[in-house]
Amino acid sequence: MFDHITIQLLMGQLLIGLINGSFYAMLALGLAIIFGLMHVVNFAHGALYMLGAFVALILLNSFGVPYWGALMIAPIVVGAFGIVMERLILKPIQELDHLYSLLATFAAVLIIEGLMRLQFGASGLPYRSPLPGGVNLGFMFLPWYRAWVLVFSLIVCVAVWYLIEKTKLGAYLRAANERSEIVESFGINVPLMKSLTYGLGVALAALGGVLAAPIYQVSPSMGSNLMIVIFAVVVIGGMGSIIGAILTGYLIGIVEGLTKVFYPEGSHLAIFVIMILALILRPQGLFSAAEKSR
């Protein structure tokens, strides 16, 4: 039944799965950080990832800034944009039901995507790989750029995890996740902290966008397609869990890759089947129990 499966196919899809998983993990991580502190489900996360890719493209085409420069600049630019967004549309409604902030970021997606489509059209634009070529591992061909994405995104995820779980700055964030008004009563500027945290989460999404640009086509809808999966990842992993977001992201990427090998028709469905199973079997999310029981 599975005679078509070769080691090349298996490893190839596993690699694609890991790459996709890297993006899932980075985006879910940013979403979890933002949700943890602000209780905002940032529906615009995908759109900001898309903006990151476009900023890289614009930097390259209009300013001649190469990929490596964009990797630094795009997250800063988009992160700053995110901070402005937070001040303008999230801060005014932060005391209301959190459904409103979800809807506000949803409305922002319509505007951002619409504007980008107006400017750049709906079809995908190519971004030249900064690391052409690759290495033949015997059982598969590994493009250099994909290897770079794998390693770099893993480093980013671990670095963010370390920042939050092991540093003083992270302690403020963890404490504010539990009781932000108490942290503020210690004299810490929590409103600013919220803006910066939103900026950090958004910058992570933009960084993902820059990483993705040479692999996928840069297009206005690249974000919402990804967002759909990210939502499932976050539901499976449990909202607000940092480590849960990272692990579930990679896990889902791998599962998706493997389904492509064994049952190609079902690769999109697999994620959602897992989600529904997870909901039935572990309604609180795979990783949420270890985090907090609030």
Binding site: E95, A171, Y172, R174, A175, N177, E178, R179, E181, I182, V183, E184, S185, F186, G187, I188, N189, V190, P191, E291, K292
Partner: protein, 235 residues
């Protein structure tokens, strides 16, 4: 000691959403004083502390601290003026270790207690530094909650029912700690339901009923009018 109040609350109104909790509170706290807010459950004592701290956002009237109006300031700005707040439910962060909890509040101005001195004053915490915040007993949590607000440099402490839910022996310990803090020059506004505890530590008592101040008695007056005070508290 000057006689200018450190804190002057005048005609303070506060709301939780649509429902009004304070209906024009008036009282003062002088430097170095230990004042309690006493009254029944739901009288508005905790709300008063939360309003002073700016945690209850919807409020009207005047709260002057150290000569400056703070009613329109945000919580962190009020904290930076030199007020520290210890909430009723202690709010020890479960995802932080004891050490992280203790050193989380930043040093905002000179005059705070150094970390070494804190550990000397709260020796129980010394051995528990590495354990998780949620692992402490109720009494240890209360000690930690008080200890951690002493390092910021704030000289005015808002303590919300530190005796609540604790064994008598622990309550006694907490009481001694609070008297020690008063001796060290801290000004303290304490919310209490435990009259015995309040009588032991306070210079003056402000009785709160339905969101307004109905009586103010100094320590001697309370002893002379114990029946009346007990009636206020419904005990």
């Amino acid at each position: 000691m000057t006689n200018d109040p450190l804190l002057t609350v005048a005609d303070l109104h506060a709301w939780y959403g649509e429902s009004k909790a304070l209906h024009g509170m008036n009282f003062t706290v002088r430097p170095g004083e230990l004042v309690t807010l006493i009254g029944r459950n739901g009288a508005g004592k905790s709300t008063t502390l939360r309003s002073i701290m700016g945690i209850v956002k919807k409020r009207k009237g005047s709260i002057r601290f150290d000569g400056q109006e703070t009613i329109n300031r945000r919580t962190y700005q009020i904290a930076r003026r030199g007020i520290a707040y210890c909430p009723e439910e202690r709010a020890i962060f479960a995802s932080l270790t004891v050490a992280e909890n203790l050193t989380l509040p930043p040093v905002l101005k000179p005059g705070g207690i150094s970390d070494d001195d804190l550990l000397r004053q709260f020796p129980n915490l010394q051995q528990r530094l590495r354990s998780g915040g949620a692992k402490l007993s109720g009494g240890e949590q209360q000690m930690l909650a008080i200890a951690r607000i002493l390092r910021t440099g704030a000289r005015f402490l808002l303590l919300d029912e530190p005796s609540e839910g604790l064994a008598p022996v622990v309550v006694r310990e907490i009481g001694e700690k609070i008297l020690q803090l008063k001796e060290q020059g801290f000004t303290i506004l304490l919310v209490e339901q435990n009259l015995q505890f309040a009588r032991r530590v306070a210079d003056r008592h402000v009785v709160v009923e339905n969101g307004v101040v109905v009586d103010t008695l100094d320590a001697a007056e309370v002893e002379a009018n114990l029946g009346r005070v007990k009636n206020y508290l419904g005990v």
